[in-house]
Amino acid sequence: MALNIMQLATMFADKNPGITQGHRLCPGCAAPNVAKFALMTAESLGYTPVVGLATGCLEVSTTIFPYTAWNVPYIHNAFENVAATISGVETAYRALAKRGRIVDPDKKYAFFAFGGDGGTYDIGLQSLSGAVERGHKFIYIVYDNEGYMNTGNQRSGATPPGSQTTTQPVGKKLPGKIQLKKNIVEIMAGHENVYVATVSTSEPMDFFKKIEKALQFDGPAFIAAFSPCVRFWRVNDDKAVDISKLAIETGYWPLYEVERGVYRITKKVKELKPVKEFIEAQGRFRNLLKRPDADEIIGELQEYITRRWERLHILEEATKDKPIR
């Protein structure tokens, strides 16, 4: 069943999809939408979501004492262990179900773990890798805002080169971050029996479809969601969706999925726009653009993105109908 917006609106006209109003994320933040889309899909397909949340923007601003913006079972976590916790929850559920101690055994549960890019790319990577390797049935969703935005824009493994951060500012000596963004999708796709996909809130239908696929997949799933941080990307409050669209059109955030080693590009862009458009739209690259070597750095990024795009097409061709197991 493919969901559409009208169905979902009818379904959720008078109730909240997991996450409720009154959270204190910045105006225009994309992170609550990532959670909303995911939980909405799960609930509309008859699952009861259980949420674990790693420390990050979403966690600290939805659960400020004595308030909580969640109306589903929820577990608070430290930065590094959300995947470990949710795998524990899932195992406990299976153990109790085996002993017949679940009150309503017909109820379907969906175990969600949300983490920011700091809690996924850097700090929580080993627990995530472990949980995926053990094959627990859960869905890990990273909302990637490319930095430690909760504590005020520090550099993370997801920050793109040339971006202004407080720990690697753009100055006379250094052009901001030098290294490329870590390719988390490939890292996760390196595990066996896993469903990995990239999503963006600017493509809601694609988003719902991938969550649905992840829910029905027999094993762990990892979803990387592009989630612009309006505050520290220095864009206007209403630009989160526009920036996401631009990221897809420039090939900066390709939408694809890897299911047991089979690649599939879900959003084909006929001709990629130059990545410079994406960079110029954001204030965090303003200081980079002032530097004399700006074109060189952007050129390197452009080359990387073009090659990655070509590589994806080759992989799609080569792995078609050839799952690893």
Partner: protein
């Protein structure tokens, strides 16, 4: 929040025993620009409802179809995302033909 509780009245470990208590918290005070809904121009595409990060767009179901009702200003933070994603509110349209118009909060009395 009504009154602050002392440590003796609080649950052990600061456990919050009720779900979605954040609904009591008014985030509408953050707003500097206000979305104003014009029902005559709306096509009920539900994009504003889908994208509102604060779920401040109120809808109702009429004859099995969702209809936009208006904004809940108790929660709306005034980000303007609804007007940006609205197909009937892009910059090319004149203001009287848009379904959502962003206006500065200073124009309103309440």
């Amino acid at each position: 929040m009504a009154d602050l509780k002392g440590w003796k009245e609080l649950a052990i470990g600061g456990v919050i025993d009720k779900p979605s208590t954040a609904k009591e918290y008014q985030t509408g005070t953050w707003r500097v620009i206000r979305p104003v809904y014009k029902p005559e121009n709306c096509i009920n595409c539900m994009f504003c409802w889908l994208y509102c990060p604060d779920q401040a767009v109120e809808i109702e179901v009429v004859d099995g179809k969702p209809k936009m009702k208006g904004f809940n200003y108790y929660y709306c933070k005034g980000c303007g995302l609804c007007a940006n994603v609205c197909p009937k509110s892009n910059d090319k349209l004149p203001e009287e033909k848009r379904a959502i118009v962003m206006k500065p909060e200073t124009e309103f009395q309440d």
